[in-house]
């Protein structure tokens, strides 16, 4: 599969929109006091692990971009 600049821009746009969705969801939860009820611990651990993995991958990509 060969990708060009337009496709990478589309990927970045998708990432930005997904981050906006996460940000909005967190803001909505913060405005709902009753939502403080805990998520299922196992789900939360998996979510934390996935967040850490994605951020690690982003760090790697950004480091590569910095190196040119």
């Amino acid at each position: 599969m060969e990708l060009d600049l337009d496709e990478s821009s589309l990927a970045i746009g998708r990432i930005e929109r997904a981050l906006s969705r996460i940000e909005k969801s967190l803001a909505d939860r913060a405005n709902r006091p009753e939502s403080a009820a805990a998520a299922v611990p196992a789900d939360q651990s998996a979510l934390k692990a996935e967040v850490a993995a994605v951020i690690g991958e982003l760090d790697r990509l950004i480091a590569e971009a910095d190196r040119g």
């Binding site: 599969m1 060969e2 990708l3 060009d4 600049l5 496709e7 990478s8 821009s9 990927a11 970045i12 998708r14 990432i15 930005e16 997904a18 981050l19 906006s20 969705r21 996460i22 940000e23 969801s25 967190l26 803001a27 939860r29 913060a30 006091p33 939502s35 403080a36 009820a37 805990a38 998520a39 789900d43 939360q44 979510l47 934390k48 996935e50 967040v51 850490a52 993995a53 994605v54 951020i55 690690g56 991958e57 982003l58 760090d59 990509l61 950004i62 590569e64 971009a65 910095d66 040119g68």
Partner: protein
């Protein structure tokens, strides 16, 4: 208003608070800093993200225990208030982490656009990685939206 200097995850911050609340603010900052330092070796954003997640976890655990015991005393109600304030702070940290990641993306995009010679064919593997990350972050967004 009082001026307070804090250091969290190695970065200094100058904040203002109501007179008399300085020590409380310093204590809260120490909690966040302790959590951030529990995840050494990562970027500042990652340290703050983990601090936010651990504080949110602490807050939810504390709230769950308190709700189970049906708090009646003033001290338990105060603990609920503290847990809620910590959870709010943790969510704020998480939102800040998301904002920093967005800023990092903008930097990445700017760097890519400022390097036309390396653009069209330079890093197809990076482009594929971007698409995979987009898939994963979209899945994460769906999970976060479905949290109770």
């Amino acid at each position: 208003m009082a001026d307070v200097k804090l250091t969290i995850a190695g970065r200094p911050y100058d904040l203002h608070c109501e007179d008399g609340q300085e020590s409380q603010l310093v204590e809260l900052a120490a909690v966040v800093d302790e959590k951030a330092r529990a995840m050494p070796g990562g970027t500042e954003v990652r340290q703050l993200l983990f601090a936010a997640l651990m504080l949110a976890d602490d807050a939810q655990d504390a709230k769950g225990k308190i709700e189970k015991s049906e708090p009646q005393s003033d001290s338990l109600r105060a603990a609920v208030a503290l847990a809620e304030s910590r959870e709010a702070a943790a969510r704020e940290e998480l939102r800040a982490a998301v904002a920093r990641e967005q800023a990092a993306f903008k930097e990445l995009e700017a760097a890519r656009q400022n390097a036309p010679a390396a653009s069209p064919t330079a890093n197809p593997s990076n482009n594929r990685a971007l698409l995979q990350i987009a898939d994963r972050i979209e899945a994460l967004a769906a999970k976060v939206e479905q949290l109770p």
